[in-house]
Symmetry: C2
Subunit: 371 residues, 2 copies
């Protein structure tokens, strides 16, 4: 028997929802948790230590991007992804698969892996379950994701079935190779299967025969409309093992966070909150404020009166609008901190709701402003 | 007799150099001081409160840019330039003249002012001594600059003479109108005259018949080579009144700061340290490091071991290089803080040198690395 460097302790439950502590290699995050996305080794516009000071204890880094630039060997020589991002919390890396399918050109899938062209320089690159684990190992992330095939949302049943078959096989290979590389890092499996409940269920049943440290729902927020996402969350989350973290990939709107937490999801990541911020779309309890609009030009009020972020404490709506129009990087910097502060407070409210019940938090504003 | 809301107290001297305290409207900066440039209402990539926490007590905002966008009325309605920049130190605004001559198209000068086209939308705009003071008054800066004509470095003697004649006249009109608008803000005159010592002297003699709160040397760092700048500094600074702050406009390289402080200059501004930072040129005691170069790719060392800035405390050279190549805004953010930290420490060393003598600081590194 070896020690357990990965632990997941459920501390409270309400309906299907739960709050828990996830620890990997001595780093702990409370869940539910939203993980900001550091695509190229940094969350855009926010230093890692500031994320940590804000209260974030988990973040994501993209294997595809870091593999292409600066390369995992360079990251390793610079001390690993925690040093590079200057983030002391849990860092989860994706496998790179999703970006290969969405960003790279001329990717070709076979049973052994994927061959693709870098979107940066056109170099042909080969990604296999083996390589995906080795790259993540070199990056030195705490949680690695298995390589999976990510078919488009409108894929035919045949393509979907083929992708599921391959992804199950790859998950097993990833698990084996991960265990040969590391005994203290976590590896999560990913369920694909699109909207087909039979395929989803079948894949989850296969994946759960292996003792992965956590399970993700992939392919949920790829081009589908909202209602479909809700139904899928309702249907699929329950099939994931109760005692492992459940991670809904690519989901992060306030409404979807709320719905998914209620269904028992523990972890989230999404680029939208930070991308929205850079475009001047700011989350508030009164809905999204589009800060580039003329109506804000001379408004001396803060974006949100009770928000503790730098933007809301120190700057007016009018100044933020000016910074965005003048293309000053301070605008996206402040807006990003705000949206991440908003999501952190939402997640903290959701945790309190799980721990203390409905009376603790009033979520009517979510129904009214994020329908 | 009215109270003196503007004070300049010389506290130590060494040769022609001096250290002093400049106070305007209750805000104080020690001099010599370098003022970071907040072109559009922010120093690029650094929030105002962070500049203040670093130790900066004076900064510059550009009247031309803020007049065009968002407009001085909007700045006023948002609480003035201090609130907008979130900077509690002294804010100096230029008159807009320099930008009109360098940025706008089809500018036409007459004895009453300048007519120019906005570089943003092509609108025709009229700037007069009157308007220049009114705009700066609306922005609510602490120190206003008079409007002057800024001829190019290679202007003929006739053009230069004409510009000096006009600028003397405009300075008088600015002074009169400034005094009618405000009794607690400072206004500085600007000496032009290019490289011609007779013209310079003549203009300074004219300007000093009016009790401006400070005097600037303009047109010193416009396209001239280094040696010429040195000679001009040597020749011209001495003619400015001893008991008023002396401001060398547009100068900010480590070497020039050192030379100018030795000649008795008190205030500086320059976009180069922050622009250099964004381009990956970092100031160090060993000279300028070009951080985009491949040599830094896997270097785990900080840019400067003893520097207290976020970059040097938290990030490696290799990570900075990656951030710059990946066009992540965190790169320019960190590099800007570093270069401004470097200049602040240099200025603090220069102040100590004035106060305590040569033994206090070793400036050999400047001679070796910034020749």
């Amino acid at each position: 028997m070896s020690a357990t460097p990965v632990s997941f302790c459920i501390e409270a439950r309400r309906g299907n929802a739960r709050s828990a502590s996830l620890t990997v290699r001595g780093r702990t995050t409370k869940t539910p948790a939203f993980m900001p996305v550091g695509t190229q080794g940094t969350v855009k516009g926010i230093p890692g230590h500031q994320l940590h000071e804000m209260g974030y204890r988990a973040a994501l880094a993209n294997t595809y991007h870091l593999h292409l630039r600066p390369g995992e060997e360079t990251v390793a020589r610079l001390g690993g992804v925690h040093r590079m991002m200057d983030f002391p919390g849990i860092i989860l890396t994706d496998s790179g698969g999703f970006q290969v399918f969405s960003l790279s050109e001329r990717n070709v899938v076979d049973d052994e892996g994927i061959t693709f062209q870098s979107h940066l320089d056109g170099n042909r690159i080969r990604l296999t379950p083996h390589r995906a684990m080795e790259i993540q190992h070199a990056l030195d992330s705490d949680i690695a994701m298995v390589l999976d095939e990510c078919p488009p949302a409108d894929a035919s049943a045949k393509v979907l079935e083929e992708a599921v078959r391959r992804s199950i096989d790859w998950a097993g290979r990833c698990w084996e190779h991960h265990r040969s590389l590391s005994h203290d890092r976590a590896v999560f499996a990913i369920s694909q299967g699109g909207k087909d409940p039979v395929l989803r269920r079948q894949m989850i049943d296969e994946l759960t025969t292996v003792s992965f440290d956590g399970f993700a729902l992939g392919g949920i927020s790829v081009g589908e409309d909202r209602q479909v996402i809700r139904d899928e969350i309702l249907a699929f989350t329950q099939w994931l093992p109760e005692d492992r973290p459940r991670y809904l990939m690519g989901v992060g709107s306030p409404r979807e966070l709320f719905l998914a937490v209620r269904q028992g999801v523990d972890l989230f990541d999404c680029v939208m909150p930070t991308r929205n911020a850079r475009n001047g779309h700011l989350y508030t309890r009164e809905g999204i404020l589009k800060m580039r609009n003329a109506i804000h030009a001379e408004d001396p009020r803060p974006v949100e009166a009770d928000c503790p972020c730098t933007l809301c404490v120190r700057y007016s709506r009018g100044t933020l609008r000016h910074l965005l129009h003048a293309r000053e990087m301070l605008g996206p910097m402040l807006a990003t901190e705000h949206n991440l502060t908003f999501l952190l407070r939402l997640i903290q409210d959701l945790r309190r709701w799980v721990e203390r019940g409905d009376a603790a938090v009033d979520f009517d504003w979510l129904d009214r402003h994020y329908p």
